[in-house]
């Protein structure tokens, strides 16, 4: 019986995807894009075998002058750049960086966004007790069981925060207060003194309250505020700031990155930055979907059958919200590729000599008068790749929409 019951379900779930695939195949531009992307991936994987030259090799020999800024020719199909490097080879190697950055950043952002969005949606309106004072009665119910000892750690964090506030108040007003006690009775010094007393009073009150108090936090509110916050900060300027910070070898994080990844450190830094700012879109999408899915009968059925919260979230709810996630991964790859190229174009992204389409284009802008063809190849590649991912996203959206018919 068990096998008989399992059998039809399996067929059913296969045919959903088969149906989607059949719809997708009808979208001609999306199919063309898929083929293009597959070719691009193959080109990136086998770059060392395909590229006619070393992408960073500069010409040697007697007649150097004749090897810079060559137009397209039989030896160099796309010409040579300002350092005599073969443009075609650089384009082929650049595909590796673009696809690596695009796929890694998009997939990581979507994974993080899915998990946080699911947590926010599922636990919306069910606040956790993040903090329970040492003298508070624990039988009031102590969630979350994040891990053993969280309660003790939360005390430490709470009182550390209070100490920092008290210390900050002293650092801001201390010199004025000392001057006041030393006889300089000006209004400003008096105000500083009053401010200090108020701040310390508040800290003392909070410290006493903390012995018995509890702090409840709705995970949804926390995550939603973080999303709002990430959306508040102007993205591109923030990317510039972060990238300048992380790339610098005089900064600790920059040193770690250099030690771990060597020359390609900037690639991983860019990916990290794109993920930090990129998860919010998916999180919002998923949160909304989960909020409505958790009220449906199948969720109640799963609960009645004794499924744990993790199982309900990730076995029952998330698969039902998967369609927009798949679309957002696809569009996210295109977005990440453009953003990486934009950063590299501004000189804040991946650093030469590593060839990327973005930094090739940036380089080419300087020579727009003397060698305009240099800008064409990298710009065109970025454009077409992004176009392909956008068309694939479009096709997937139609294919995964249960309302659309064959």
């Amino acid at each position: 019986m068990a096998t008989a019951a399992a059998q039809p379900r399996k067929v059913q779930s296969q045919s959903t995807w088969a149906l989607a695939w059949r719809r997708f195949k009808k979208h001609r531009l999306a199919m063309t894009s898929l083929v293009f992307v597959i070719l691009l991936i193959l080109m990136a994987l086998f770059a060392p075998h395909i590229a006619p030259y070393d992408p960073t090799a500069q010409p040697t020999g007697a007649d150097l002058g004749a090897q810079y800024f060559n137009g397209p020719s039989a030896q160099h199909w796309l010409g040579t750049d300002d350092l005599g490097r073969d443009v075609l080879s650089r384009i082929i190697y650049g595909a590796r960086i673009s696809l690596l950055v695009g796929f890694t950043a998009a997939i990581a952002s979507v994974l993080i966004g899915t998990v946080l969005g699911t947590l926010a949606g599922y636990f919306s309106g069910k606040p956790f007790r993040f903090y329970l004072g040492p003298l508070a009665r624990a039988e009031q119910g102590w969630q979350p069981a994040l891990f053993a000892g969280w309660r003790v750690i939360s005390w430490g964090l709470y009182y550390l925060a209070l100490y920092l506030v008290a210390d900050l108040a002293w650092k801001l007003s201390g010199s004025d207060v000392r001057a006041f006690l030393g006889g300089e009775r000006s209004l400003g010094n008096l105000l500083s003194g009053i401010g200090l007393l108020v701040a310390w009073g508040a800290v003392a009150a909070a410290a006493i309250w903390g012995l018995w108090g509890t702090i409840r936090l709705d995970l949804d509110i926390v995550i939603s505020r973080v999303i709002d916050f990430v959306l508040t900060i102007p993205t591109l300027p923030l990317l510039l700031v972060l990238s300048a910070l992380l790339r610098d070898p005089n900064v600790v994080v920059g040193q770690w990155a250099q030690a771990a990844f060597g020359e390609s450190a900037s690639v991983f830094i860019i990916i990290a930055i794109l993920v930090v700012l990129g998860w919010t879109g998916t999180a919002r999408l998923i949160r909304g979907a989960i909020l409505s899915l958790r009220e449906q009968d199948f969720t109640a059925a799963a609960q009645a059958m004794g499924a744990g919260e993790g199982r309900i979230m990730f076995r029952h709810l998330v698969p039902n919200a998967l369609a927009p996630v798949i679309v957002s991964v696809t569009l996210g790859v295109g977005d990440a590729i453009v953003t990486e190229a934009a950063l590299s174009f501004l000189g804040f992204g991946i650093q030469p000599p590593v060839a990327t389409w973005g930094n090739m284009l940036s380089n080419a802008q300087e020579y727009i008068f003397s060698a305009p063809w240099l800008a064409l190849a990298p710009g065109f590649m970025i454009f077409v790749t992004v176009l392909a991912f956008n068309y694939m996203g479009d096709g997937l959206r139609d294919a995964l929409d249960p309302r659309s018919r064959l």
Binding site: L168, K171, L172, R225, D228, F229, L231, T232, I233, P234, T235, L236, P237, L238, L240, V241, L242, A244, L245, D248, N250, V251, G254, G334, V338, A341, A342, F345, L346, F348, L361, A364, Q365, I368, F369, P372, A375, G379, F380, I382, F383, V386, L387, N390, Y391, D394
Partner: protein
Amino acid sequence: MFAYTVRRLIQMLPLLFAASIVIYTLLSLQPGDPLDELKRNNPRITAEQLEQLKRAYGLDQPVYVRYFKWLGRAVQGDLGQSRTYGLPAAEYIFGQRLPKTLLLSGLAFILALLVAIPVGIYSAVRQYTLADYVITFVSFLGFSIPIFFLGILLLYFFAVAMPENLRLPTGGVPPYLPSDVGSTVSLGEYIVQWVRHLILPVLALSLIQMAAWTRFMRASLLEVLNQDYVRTARSKGLSERVVIYKHALRNALIPMVTLVGLAIPGVLGGAVITETIFSWPGMGRAIFDALVEKDYNVAMAALALLALLTVLFNLIADLMYAVVDPRIRYN
């Protein structure tokens, strides 16, 4: 509505506070403090003098103390001095940079709207005709093209490849005012110069926005045209014109309002690339330059302003939504 607005305005404060903390911290973590340059330019400076300067600039204090002091001055309108330009950062940002960005982005914005809405309507009304296919295809291309590539293409075609007498300037703004000493530029020529300098960056900025909005307008109108009340309007025997412009379009414009409102801060801050390609001395370029030159007071002022604008326009978009759609009530 009023209570809602006030509540939203109050909610904005912690958000802006947090954003400014993060931006300030990131900027102060940036390598190299303002004294590095002094040391380079003046090798004979003594360690004692450096120490003194450090105290004078407040650099001997920890980051969070500096932040609160910055915040205290900022709410009084003092955003510090620009080290590169030797004038107050607020004057530099608001007086010199913001107007130029508003000019560029504002024109691009208006142009994009003026084209996108009618073209989107046209395309939706004639769905599945050749014109619709062409518009859909072109707008898909337009919103997929990266702005830096579009900018370079425009630069190449209109500033490099054109015959000499038709070439547009590659960037910047007109150098001389008519009132400058020894200037031979008349007011009319001056205006023409501005227009010529504006054409390419405005085109680059607006084409992409235009493509995105055309797609959105088309989709939004198509969605509405499938509604029952449109069928009712048609079956009442109303002319197609009345059905589309009186019944469908008004509803289709509602989501556009939000989209356009949300795009405004993005246009102001996101013009970094356009302003870089066309050397346009606006806000985006100011942020970029400030980061390169480590002029952190300017960077902080500009980024804080952008964050403020983003939250404000989010609120305005939400409020406009309620204004254009009476079904929505905020309470």
